[in-house]
């Protein structure tokens, strides 16, 4: 994957996706931890975590992914925002990886709305 081929806008968009997914994971884990031992919410929260990890790997080394914490108190909303950002991305060198991530996030949105993450 040639991360150097990305323009600044793409890199910043991906950094935004990382922040959204990480915050969604924080909220998802908080929900799972609140639910106590044996919560099925762990499966959903782990899925969000792994999506955030994948997004982080799309961002080139040395990029500052720090930024404002996304607003929102439901993982579903943050995941939807991340999916929208991924849809808006211009075609880039890492297209397959971005497409994979978009599909994963779309699944998580569906899980968040209908499943254990709801």
């Amino acid at each position: 994957m040639d991360k150097h081929a990305m323009d600044v806008d793409t890199v910043e968009t991906l950094a935004g996706v990382v922040r959204l997914l990480r915050q969604a994971a924080v909220l998802a884990w908080a929900g799972a931890d609140r639910a106590g031992a044996g919560s099925a919410g762990q499966l959903f929260a782990l899925g969000v975590d792994l999506a955030a990890d994948q997004a982080r790997h799309l961002v080139p080394d040395g990029t500052n992914v720090d930024g404002p914490v996304p607003v929102g108190d439901e993982p579903a909303g943050l995941l939807r925002s991340a999916e929208l950002l991924l849809r808006r991305l211009a075609p880039i060198a890492a297209r397959e990886a971005v497409d994979d991530l978009r599909a994963i996030v779309a699944d998580l949105v569906w899980e968040a709305n209908t499943g254990v993450g709801a």
């Binding site: 919560s39 499966l43 782990l46 975590d49 982080r56 254990v116």
Partner: protein
């Protein structure tokens, strides 16, 4: 001692098995430390030998028990190299001889094709038999080390009690830390022993010509995903892990504990396992899950926006999550016992998850070693200031005077929230969290002992104390008499 020339692979393996058995019969506490120190070399030689043998067809994809045992052996090696108990010193001679035998066997196999090398004493050729025989050697040797360590720990405890009662100078009696360290090492060898025993039992239960069909498929997928996860977790943790890696490991281990509850309860509801076992097992597994979750939250405090998780770890975790979903979850929650029973072979999956639980004990000790020694551990100054203050106060209350009046973080570092190395009190908090995980997981392993193929007795009594000092006869050790002819069993 040196390996005698002219012996066949079968004779070398028989000799190794005999040496392991003699060590077990010896049951000598005096050999315990040498056994620990010699283990990484022995395990390394075993893994190298297995690498030149044909793959055992009873191992499902990615579920090579030797690879996991080798990772555990390397973890003990790193722990010793870092100066952890029992530290450097002489190695057990029998372990060195076994390692030498295995190296010699590897050389022989590299010189000749496997099919032309007699691998059993009556000349029958079964290219996969040495795999099982190596596992058997490891199983018996790990059991011998566990027994010797248990005796050693008992002796330490006795000397500590006497020394305290007689008010002997501190330098003349063992410390509580030594007793606890010996207990930790017992748990690690217990895990190795159980994994080797489980792998041996699985080879007997799963003939090579019985491929997984129907319900076996999701179970095999879960088994393969668990095995791949365990090996990857060891690999990642062995290679300068980022705190984000430790978060991911802890969260996945917590999920494995929860999955074990779900599958075990389904098996009990369907009458596949004893409900009495579940009454003990479920709370123990829930404690293990909560302990791993607490550990995850502690490590998460050390992550920064720049943190990256090892991509291979992410991949393995993703595969495992998908396998767990396919086996035990629905869109909205956990599947019902009937649904789960329709998807997987419950007793087989319970055993697979139990084996994974055993590895969880070892992972907890690896995490503890990282917390204690990893030189690259750093975190944002504000988090460090908060955590260090809290941990230092706890330590001072417990009599630790070194932390009194120490300023761990400068105002400038806090103002800039610089990423700075983790001070000792903050490390202590992580070490304690990992120790709690190891204890909770160990309790769960003990409660699950009746689910294991070896049908071992629980290692923890009703009062929560660990039962130690089992007689050698307490455990079923598959009979394999060296040098009596016949195929290795």
């Amino acid at each position: 001692m040196s390996a005698r020339e002219g012996r066949t692979v079968a004779e070398l393996l028989d000799d190794s098995d005999g040496l392991a058995r003699e060590a077990l019969l010896d049951m000598s506490a005096a050999r315990a430390l040498g056994m620990v120190r010699g283990w990484p070399q022995l395990m390394h030689s075993a893994a190298d030998l297995c690498a030149v043998l044909p793959v055992d067809p009873t191992d499902s994809a990615g579920a090579d028990p030797i690879a996991l045992l080798a990772a555990m052996g390397r973890a003990i090696g790193r722990s010793l190299a870092a100066g952890h108990w029992p530290g450097r010193g002489p190695r057990d001679e029998a372990w060195e001889q076994i390692a030498s035998n295995l190296v010699q066997a590897r050389r022989l196999l590299q010189q000749k094709p496997v099919a032309s090398e007699p691998v059993s004493t009556d000349g029958q050729i079964d290219p996969t038999a040495p795999n099982s025989q190596i596992l058997h050697v490891l199983y018996v040797a790990a059991h011998a080390a566990t027994v010797a360590l248990t005796e050693y720990q008992r002796d330490l405890q006795h000397r500590l009690e006497i020394g305290t009662r007689r008010r002997q100078p501190l330098v003349e009696r063992p410390t509580v830390l030594e007793v606890e360290s010996a207990g930790g090492m017992i748990a690690r060898f217990d895990a190795i022993e159980q994994l080797a025993a489980g792998a041996l039992a699985a080879r007997r239960l799963n003939p090579a010509d019985d491929p997984g069909i129907g319900r076996a498929r999701p179970a095999m997928r879960l088994e393969a995903a668990l095995a791949a996860w365990e090996i990857q977790a060891h690999r990642t943790l062995a290679n300068q892990p980022d705190p984000a890696d430790l978060v991911r490991v802890a969260r996945v281990q917590a999920l494995i504990a929860t999955t074990t509850v779900v599958v075990s309860e389904a098996a009990a509801r369907r009458g596949e396992i004893d409900t009495g076992v579940i009454d003990r097992l479920t709370p123990a597994l829930e404690n293990a899950q909560l302990a791993w979750s607490r550990s995850a939250r502690r490590w998460a405090e050390l992550t920064t926006p720049a943190s990256r998780t090892d991509p291979a770890l992410v991949e393995a975790a993703g595969q495992l999550r998908a396998a767990i979903r396919a086996a035990v979850a629905t869109q909205t929650s956990w599947a019902t016992p009937d649904e789960i029973a329709g998807r997987i072979d419950l007793p087989a999956t319970v055993m697979t998850l139990h084996r994974s639980l055993v590895d969880g004990v070892e992972l907890a000790y690896v995490v503890r070693d990282i917390a204690a020694d990893h030189p690259g551990l750093a975190a944002p100054a504000r988090v460090i200031a908060m955590r260090t203050q809290g941990e230092a106060e706890v330590a001072i209350e417990q009599g630790e005077t070194r932390f009194e009046g120490v300023r761990w973080v400068t105002p400038r570092q806090i103002a800039d929230n610089q990423v700075i190395p983790l001070p000792e009190p903050a490390r202590r908090g992580l070490v304690n969290a990992a120790t709690d995980v190891a204890a909770a997981t160990n309790q769960a392993v003990a409660a699950a002992a009746h689910l294991a193929p070896t049908k071992q007795s629980p290692r923890v009594g009703a009062d929560g104390t660990r039962r130690v000092g089992r007689a050698a006869t307490d455990r079923e050790i598959p009979v394999h008499q060296p040098n009596r002819g016949g195929r290795p069993r």
